[in-house]
Every structure is written in C-alpha cells, then in structure tokens.
C-alpha cells in the first residue's frame, strides 16, 4: 500500500483544497447521521452521564450547605459542574468506537486509500457529532439547573475568554480521544483503554470537582498535562473563579495544547501506518 505517498503533506492547489473542504463537510454530516442512527443508544448514554452529574450536584449541594470551601459557594459550584458536564459530553460517543472497530477489523486499510486525510476526516466527523452532543448536553444541563434552582449567569468580565475556551475544548478532546483510538493499532483492545482514558480525564481535567479540592500532587501534575483545558478552564471562567492574567494564560495553554496534540497525533498516525505496512492490516 502506498501509505507513504498518502501521508506526504504536499501543498495542494486551490481547487483541490476546495474539493477537500466539501468532502470534510459531507463527512461532518455523515458523522451526525450515523449518530442519529443510534439515537436511542446515544440518549441512554447521555442519561448515564446525567446521572453521574446529578449525583455530583446533589453531593456538593449537601457539602456546601455548610458554607463555601476553597472559594466555591453552591451557585458557583453548580455552574462549574454543569459547564464541566457539557464539556465532557463532547467527542464522547462515536469517534473512538468507530476508529477502534475499524482498526481492529482491518477496515482501516480502506480509509488509508481514500483521497482525504485520515485525521482531518475523523476531525470533521467528530465535529458533526459534537454539535449534536453539545446541543443535547446543554438541554440536559438546563433541565438539571431548573431542578436545582437555576444557574447564575456567566461572569461578564471573562465571558469573551470563556467563549474562546469553550471552543477550544473540542480540539483538545478530539486530540486525546483520537490518540487513544489510535492506540488500538498496538493493543487490539479498546474497552480497557477507553476506561483508562475516561478515568485519567476525569481526574486531571477537574470534571468531578474543581482541581483545588484535589491533593497537591494532582494539581501539580495537571498543570503540566493537557487535561485541565478539557473541563476545568472553561468551567472556572464561567463560574468567575478565574480572572485577570491567569485567565488569559489558561486559555493560551489550551490553545498551545490543542496544536501540540494535533501534531503529536500526526506523529502517532505515521508510526501506526508504518506498523500497518510492515505487519499487514
């Protein structure tokens, strides 16, 4: 297979680039449609994460009724957890499953000979899915908020940064999920990988609880890891717990990690292709 040729990044003529853009757009639509085909399962999956979020909300309501901790009062915590919930729902239902299955069954060979870039294709699909995931999660979050006495509006000072930060959640989560999917080239098992990935993200992204509540070593580690940008940063910005220079820095870190993960994933993909071409699909 001419993997090497497919991998070579040549500058494309303008009309080719347009054609590719159209291809990716239709892939985004395909991703969304595939998700709709499994709608019942998707909604039950969403229900599952809703229960997870609900238990956290109830727990913190009860804990914080005694007064604020680590600078978080109940309304702030509620806002934090709901934003973290929506962020956590992105790229959570389709991309990695499909990748893992196709790699395991060898169908990935077909993806290799397609005249579009593998990583951009998965990115486009995930984007289509993410639109639906985000929409559903926002509805669920609003429902939960209504149940628990409303959510305070976002902090107006950091709102602009919050929007940027929220948008950056997607490439970050895509990078991690995509790479964990690629690992199947080496492990052939995905269930365990996925569980480990979810556990790591849950711990280091501050999805369950703001990172300040966690032991010192976790806070230090998460400062050097890409995960905080996947929940903690936007949630902190929304709940107004992050301001000034720290806020701008946090968003910048998100952006740098997004680019970094993208490049890292590229490297991993070419390693995977080498493995595929040497050992066969």
């Amino acid at each position: 297979m001419k993997v090497a040729a497919a991998l070579e990044a040549r500058p494309l003529p303008a009309d080719t680039r347009m054609r590719h853009l159209r291809a990716y757009r239709s892939m985004a639509r395909t991703g969304l449609k595939s998700l709709l085909a499994y709608q019942t399962s998707f909604l039950f999956g969403m229900l599952a994460s809703t229960f997870g979020a609900l238990s956290m909300l109830y727990l913190w309501r009860s804990v914080l009724s005694a007064g604020p901790r680590h600078g978080f009062d109940w309304p702030q915590m509620k806002a934090y957890l709901l934003v973290a919930f929506v962020a956590g729902s992105l790229v959570s239902s389709y991309t990695d499953y499909r990748m893992a299955n196709r790699i395991k069954q060898g169908d990935v060979a077909i993806d290799l000979v397609r005249p579009v870039d593998y990583q951009w294709s998965r990115f486009a699909e995930s984007l289509g899915v993410a639109a639906y995931e985000a929409g559903t999660a926002v509805v669920v979050a609003l429902g939960a908020a209504a149940l628990l006495g409303g959510v305070p509006l976002p902090d107006p000072d950091t709102f602009g940064l919050f929007v940027v930060s929220a948008l950056l959640v997607f490439p970050l989560r895509f990078g991690i999920v995509y790479m964990s999917g690629l690992l199947v080239f080496w492990t052939q098992n995905y269930v365990g990988l996925q569980a480990a990935r979810i556990a790591l993200i849950t711990l280091f992204s501050g999805a369950l609880v703001p990172l300040v509540f966690l032991p010192e070593w976790i806070q230090v580690a998460s400062a050097y890891l890409p995960f905080a940008g996947m929940a903690s940063t936007p949630a902190l910005l929304y709940s107004g717990s992050l301001g000034g220079g720290a806020a701008a820095t946090a968003v910048l870190v998100q952006a740098v990690w997004s680019a970094g993960l993208w490049l890292l994933a590229r490297g991993m993909w070419s390693a995977a292709c080498r493995k595929l071409t040497i050992h066969g699909g």
Partner: protein, 263 residues
Amino acid sequence: MRRTIRLYRRLLGAQVRATLEYEADFWIMSLSAVLVQGIGVVFLWAIFESIPEINGWRFWEVVLIYAFVVISEGLSTLFTQGAWTLAVTVNFGQLDALLMRPFPPLLQVLSSEVGFNGLGNLVLGIGLVAAAVRHVDFTWSPGRIALGVILVIAAAGVKIGLNLLTNCAAFWLRSPYSMFAFSMHTFGELARFPITIYGLGVRIAITAVLPYAFMSYFPAAAVLSDGTARLLGLLTPLVAIYCLWLGATAFRLGLSRYESSGH
C-alpha cells in the same frame, strides 16, 4: 445443585483461560480498573478533606457505604459479567447455541464472561472496609460480623439481580448496545453516598423502583445500627431475592420473545 455450581465454575474457568489468551487485554483491563476505583477514592477524600460530615454521616461511615458498592460491583463483575453480553448475544442471534446445551441458558449467559476488573474492586473494597472499621465508632461482636458478611452477599445479590433485569431490556430494545443497562448502572452509583442527600423523587426511585440503595446505603446502615435506615437494611436479603427473581423472570419472558435472527 452441586452439579450446577460445579458446571458454573467450569464455565467461568473456561472464560478465564479464554480471557488470558489476550494477555495485553488482561493487563489493560486490570490497570484501568485500579485507576478508575482509585480515582473514586481520591474524590471521596477531596470531599471529606473539606467537611467532617454529610447529612450526619461521618467520613468513615460514608467510606463503608462506598465500600459496599465497590464490593457488590466487584462480585457481580467477577462472577456474572456475562449479563452485559446480552445485548449482543440476543440481537445477533447468538443465543441459539446456548439454548441447545443442557445447562440453564440464564446461567450460561451469566458465566459467559469474566470481568477481571472485579478483582481490583474487591481488593479496594476490602481495603476500604478494613480502614473504615478501625475508625468507625462501634464494637465488633461475632453476631455483627456474621450480619456484615450476610449483608455484603445480599448486597451483591441486589446488584446482580438489577444488572440482569436492566440488561434483559435487550430482548425488547433490539439494540446491540447495552446503553440502557449502563445508564441504569450509573443511576445505581448514586447509592455510593447517603441517599438522604438526594431529592425525594430520586430517593423513592432508588429505594423502591430500582432498589440500588439496598446494595449499599441500607445494609451499611444496618451494620452500623445507625438511624432509621437500619430496619430497612435488615431486609436486604429479601430484597436481594426479589431482585434476582425479577432478573430471572425478565430473562424468561425475554426468551419467549427471542427471535433468533436471520429468519
């Protein structure tokens, strides 16, 4: 009966060997289980680091409730993980082979997978219990230890029964994914904390509709002889029998509408 248990063990043992065929899988699954459970503990620690008690429950008492969930899930994962295969087995017609073997189909389904990650749960759960009983303020008597053992087993029965019940939805939902059962499983995880923190609707649902509270909160209360929940906790064995009966009945009804596939 002895023969049935022996065969069940045989079937599980065969699955152990089959699973160990993929050695990398085994390590990935075990490590990820330790990771997942460990994070749960870190989280628990984070909460109690900031407050001494939740709704009158002290840290080590909540740890005991938590440990009940961890152990129930561990036992259910180790010995009856096969319930989670129902969605695929039923909807791809793979139940056919099981129905043609002279051993109860339900037991074949339950023993058709071994979840090694359950081992991680058991280790952690027992560790948590050991740590909790040293800090919880009461005296141990042989009677209380016996009660504890009975309640742990009964709690596992509750989990196994409800697991089976929710996975039997596969007969009706016709989807090869067990997302319904998974969402109910996460609902059950609400029982990791004293259920008094939840709203009334949740409390009723988790006590009476899908009584997951009987795999942790109520039996823990009974062991601690604490509060009004204690009396309900003593009913755990009955609830376990009820849940197992529900699961088996759902399976029986499901089988009668099983359509194989490719007719």
